[in-house]
């Protein structure tokens, strides 16, 4: 099972971005500056947008899902139960996983954006997708929510999981590291070997690198462990 981006290029007026690479099962983390084309690339990977040129090959991928930047973009049901069913999952399980038991008859828009995000990630994680693309999955979540959802995403590593994020602290256990640099997607390598080459690394990771410490991974626990090593 793999996703291949073959000389993908998107052009909109003077703006452009390009990508090339192979995505194998595991967690792929993609970071980059605002406006570098992350959301566009997420849409292309999930098959909801077409590139200006290039080809996307989905070998052995029969199901794919995109977790869009804003959770309300996904709502198609008038109640939380119907919304869960629209993903093809049992409503009760989704509501319990999202910490919203007994609220199946509630209007999805009566939830806060954070609650809706939690509910959406719960729905996505309860089905077996071959490819899941997360576009800023931690937006609208508080620290506790970010920690929980990054753990939930880490648990999906048997499939191809691509996470586009700006999150600085609560990151999932990552297998492969990528970075958007001046509109081009760069493969940095496997984690932890690739961490020293990461330009847009979060501040704590940079601090560790400056002190000669490479964390084992990017989860909060790994970073904390690295900071403990730094303190001696």
């Amino acid at each position: 099972m793999k996703l291949i981006l073959d000389r993908i290029r998107v052009e909109r007026g003077e703006w452009h971005c390009s990508a090339e690479g192979t995505f194998l099962p595991g967690i792929h983390l993609i970071t980059g500056r605002v406006g570098s084309g992350k959301t566009t690339l997420a849409g292309i990977m999930a098959g909801v947008m077409d590139p200006s040129s290039g080809e996307i090959l989905r070998e052995g991928i029969s199901s794919c899902m995109l977790c869009q930047q804003y959770p309300e973009y996904h709502v198609t049901g008038s109640t939380l139960a119907k919304e869960a069913e629209s993903y093809g999952i049992v409503a009760k399980n989704a509501l319990e996983t999202a910490g919203l038991p007994g609220r199946g008859d509630d209007d999805p828009f009566s939830l806060s954006r954070g609650e809706l995000r939690r509910f959406q990630i719960a729905c996505l994680s309860l089905r077996d997708w071959d490819l899941i693309v997360f576009d800023e999955p931690f937006s609208a979540l508080d620290c506790q929510g970010k920690q929980k959802e990054s753990q939930r995403i880490s648990a999906l590593s048997s499939r191809i999981v691509v996470v586009f994020t700006h999150e600085q602290r609560y990151l999932p256990k990552t297998d492969y590291l990528w970075e958007m640099r001046e509109g081009v997607l760069n493969y940095l390598g496997t984690v932890p070997e690739a961490i020293p080459f990461w330009d847009t690394a979060p501040v704590h990771v940079r601090m560790l690198l400056e002190n000669g410490i490479i964390p084992a991974n990017l989860t909060e626990e790994d970073i904390r462990e690295g900071l403990c090593r730094m303190r001696g």
């Binding site: 869009q68 309300e72 973009y73 709502v75 198609t76 008038s78 993903y87 828009f109």
Partner: protein, 217 residues
């Protein structure tokens, strides 16, 4: 066109010209070639092709009942194209500027604000629609009639939520009625020439085609 006043003036003249004669409509189509980027965008607009069949139905009924349906179809088709082309070239805030320039900072401001918010609403609804279709595509739901109804409810719901947020924002900013706005317009030579052409087109549309040839002779 950079100057919203000249644009509105030209559109009014060309609308009348397109409506009253086929010659006026054809000349309006030629006038639109002055703005090829917006014209191409209008021709590619799905909404244009959604509205055009309705004009076709009316034209067909007219033709069958003894009227000049073909002329109606050409005139209305070009009139619609004019509307779509001009709308494509409109920048956010221009209606507010124009309205304040026309009716002042009290009534003009309120009217301009209402128009801007309506246009913004149409724009947002269009984006919400494509997002809902994307969500359905991702969930492998067929966007049939039954599901389209639920998207309709979703769009209304989102619109009402945004309207509430906008109302809160206006209240927070102390809006009651009217406001300060200093519109600035920068007419280019091209704008002036295009407006002059619009006057000529209306003039030609007002006189019968036969008379134009007599004048030319």
């Amino acid at each position: 066109m950079q100057d919203a006043r000249l644009r509105l003036f030209s559109v009014l003249l060309l609308s009348v010209a397109s409506f009253i004669s086929v010659a006026g409509a054809v000349l309006t189509l030629i006038w639109l070639l002055l703005y090829p980027v917006y014209l191409i965008a209008a021709v590619r607009s799905k909404a244009y092709y959604l509205l055009l069949p309705f004009t076709g139905i009316v034209a067909l009924v007219m033709q069958l009942s003894g009227g000049d349906g073909l002329s109606y179809f050409i005139r209305m088709g070009i009139l619609l194209l004019l509307g779509f082309t001009i709308f494509r070239g409109w920048e956010p805030g221009e209606f507010l500027d124009l309205s304040v320039w026309l009716f002042g900072t009290k009534t003009g401001f309120d009217l301009g604000l209402a128009i801007e918010m309506t246009i913004q609403g149409i724009d947002e609804a269009s984006r919400d629609w494509s997002r809902a279709i994307t969500a359905m595509k991702l969930k492998r739901i067929n966007p049939g009639i039954r599901n389209l109804t639920s998207i309709g409810f979703l769009l209304i719901h989102l619109r009402l939520l945004r309207a509430r947020d906008q109302a809160d924002l206006l209240t927070t900013r102390g809006y009651q009625s009217g406001g300060s706005c200093c519109p600035e317009f920068h007419p280019s030579n091209r704008d002036i020439i295009a407006s002059f052409c619009a006057i000529l087109i209306l003039f030609i549309a007002l006189i019968p085609v036969r008379d134009v040839f007599i004048l030319m002779m």
